[in-house]
């Protein structure tokens, strides 16, 4: 449906921005994501899975990216990586794809409305959380290749 198409467009353009396509001319890189279970923060999970798969495939990337979802609760607190229940109760949900180079924003989507300050706060929180995720990438890859 249209929701899947819109998600595909987000993922595709995010990956296109990091994959060094010039090194692989006349090549099609096909990324298939199958959702096994959805317990909230689905889009950022897809982004993380996509990045790790590209890493595992050994494709040349200009930067790594990770997906972070922030939920803005009705009382104003920012919740990172919300569950499905927390997403439903939240006032706004912001998903960012943060690049590993200088923590720049690669992709941004919002659901629900928020003020400009709240968005900047969520972005800052997401950039800090990106550090944890990149550390996880590093550990997973280390584990994979140390066996």
């Amino acid at each position: 449906g249209v929701l899947e198409r819109s998600r595909e467009q987000l993922l595709r353009q995010t990956c296109e921005a990091v994959v060094l396509g010039v090194l692989h001319p006349r090549t099609a890189i096909s990324l298939v994501l199958q959702v096994l279970s959805d317990a909230g923060s689905l889009l950022s999970c897809c982004l993380n899975a996509a990045c790790m798969a590209l890493l595992d495939a050994g494709l040349p990337l200009s930067a790594l990216f990770c997906g972070v979802t922030c939920a803005l609760q009705p009382d104003g607190t920012i919740l990172l990586d919300p569950t499905a229940r927390q997403e439903q109760e939240a006032r706004a949900i912001l998903t960012f794809a943060i690049a590993s180079s200088e923590r720049k924003v690669l992709m941004a989507t919002t659901k629900g409305s928020c003020s400009v300050e709240e968005m900047q706060q969520c972005l800052a929180a997401a950039q800090r959380a990106a550090d944890t995720i990149f550390q996880f990438y590093r550990d997973s890859v280390r584990r994979r290749y140390s066996k």
Binding site: A17, L94, V105, T110, S113, C114
Partner: protein, 275 residues
Amino acid sequence: RTVEPLEYYRRFLKENCRPDGRELGEFRTTTVNIGKCSCSITTADGSALVKLGNTTVICGVKAELAAPAVDSANKGYIVPNVELPSLCAERFRSGPPGEEAQAASQFIADVIENSQMIVKEDLCIANGKLAWVLYCDIICLDYDGNLLDASVFALLAALKNVQLPLVTINEETGLSEVNLKQKNPLIIRKHPVATSFAIFDDTLLIVDPTAEEEDLATGTVTIVTDEEGRLCSVHKPGGSPLTGAKLQDCITRAITRHKEVKKLIDKVIKSITPK
């Protein structure tokens, strides 16, 4: 221009302007035609035609009656549909809607939902029995970049023009009676306005890109704001990375643009209300 388009554009961008003479932060001339008199769709309940430079988008809203869903008995439906027919640009072929059209439809649905411009409870006539369904068809007649801005604007203008007839449910027969003589306008709570930017070479941001600029750009950002300065949507589908500060610049420009667009809509509405 045809042999080395990127170099051609870079030469202009170095001087902080663009080939069509605009500044980096300047929009193309926006014109809007609302309603049955100046717009073409006489069979629709509300219609608007928006021209953003050469990009032409027409929106028609048709209201129909339907039974509301079981789990949300007091909510009506709003169904937006964006179509990019093959006549608007040579890259679009006829057939099932392509990814761009579907992504745009989803974007418009998200904007309506996020901004709460139409509260679905307002569309309910009788709890659990009858509700309005608003089919919003947004069709691009000429694609010259910046489809999302024009679509959101056309949708807003068309919805402001919609007049819904009064519907009552006859107690004895249980059937609905439509009173075409008495019409009420739709209650529009918020007025979202979209502002799109194209990112060039990871650093430069230009507002309201044409089709040529969109092709050469390395990324796009669309920001939708409402009249209170709240962000209804930040849509950045991939493309070059941006720092938080650059994003903030985009948001400030979007808020200014909102005021311009609001003034334009109010002027047009005022000019057609006496009829």
